[in-house]
Symmetry: C2
DNA sequence: TATATTACATCGACAGCCGATATATGTCAA
DNA sequence: TTGACATATATCGGCTGTCGATGTAATATA
C-alpha cells in the first residue's frame, strides 16, 4: 500500500488526462474547463500546461493534432490507450494518498 | 474559493504540524509515527524531514529543545500558537483541494 | 569486535510549477 | 483606425519540495 512518489505534485497530469478521457480538447479549453469544474480551485497556468502536454505526448499518453476552427489552427489533444491506463493508476494512487491524509488529519475517511 | 498554491507539495509540513499538535516529538519518531498511522503510505525521508523542521522553526511555527533520554540528547519539537494557526489554514486548503480533485475525477465529494 | 540500529545533519540533483516574456491573430470600443 | 484586450501557443529562468547519498556518533546486539 505504498504510493510511488508524492502523488500530489504531478497531480496536474492526472487532471489533464481525466479531462481528455472524456473528449479531445485544446490547451486553453483545458484551463477553462478545469477552472469552471473545480469552482476556481484549479488555476492552471500556461507555463505549466504546455510543457506538461508536450511531455505527455512524448511519454505516449497523449496524441496531438491540428484542427481548423474559424479559419485558425488549434492544437487538439487526444488520450491514448496507454494514457488511460496511466490515468487509472494515478487515480488509484491519489485515492490511497488522499485517504491517508484524511486519516492523519482526522478528516473524512472516504475509502474502506 | 482559491487555494494559495498547490497545497499538495508542501503537504508534508501539514502532516508534521498535525503530529506535533498532539504531542512533542523528535525527528525519527515523526517518521515512524507517520508511517504507522498511514499504513506505510507516507515514507518520509530524513533528507526531507530535517531541512523542513529547520525551516518551520525559522518560520516561527515550531520551537526546538534538547531533552535527555537514556543519557542521550534528543531534539524535540513543539508547535507554537502560530504553528497551530498555520496548521488550521493548511487543513482548510487541503480539504478544498482534495474536494475539488474528488469532483474532477468523479470520486466522493466529502464537502458541501 | 564487528555490524546494525538509532539519531541528527547536509549537499547536490531532479521535478513540478509559475511568472515573465514572446508572438500572432481576432475583437471591440474610443 | 488605432490602441487595448482576449485568445492561443510557446519557451525560459528561477524557486521550492523531495530524495538519494553521504557523514558522524552513540548504543545495542551478535
Amino acid at each position: 500500500m505504498t504510493v510511488s512518489k508524492n502523488p500530489v505534485s504531478g497531480n496536474t497530469a492526472m487532471l489533464i488526462l481525466k479531462l481528455l478521457s472524456e473528449k479531445d480538447m485544446y490547451g486553453y479549453e483545458m484551463i477553462d474547463t478545469l477552472s469552471k469544474r473545480s469552482n476556481n480551485v484549479f488555476e492552471l497556468k500556461v507555463g505549466t500546461l504546455y510543457p506538461l502536454l508536450h511531455s505527455l505526448v512524448k511519454g505516449g499518453y497523449l496524441k496531438g493534432y491540428d484542427k481548423e476552427v474559424n479559419g485558425k489552427l488549434r492544437k487538439y489533444y487526444q488520450i491514448t490507450p496507454n494514457g488511460r491506463k496511466y490515468l487509472d493508476r494515478m487515480i488509484e494512487e491519489w485515492n490511497t494518498y488522499a485517504s491517508a491524509v484524511g486519516m492523519m488529519i482526522g478528516g473524512v475517511n472516504f475509502e474502506s
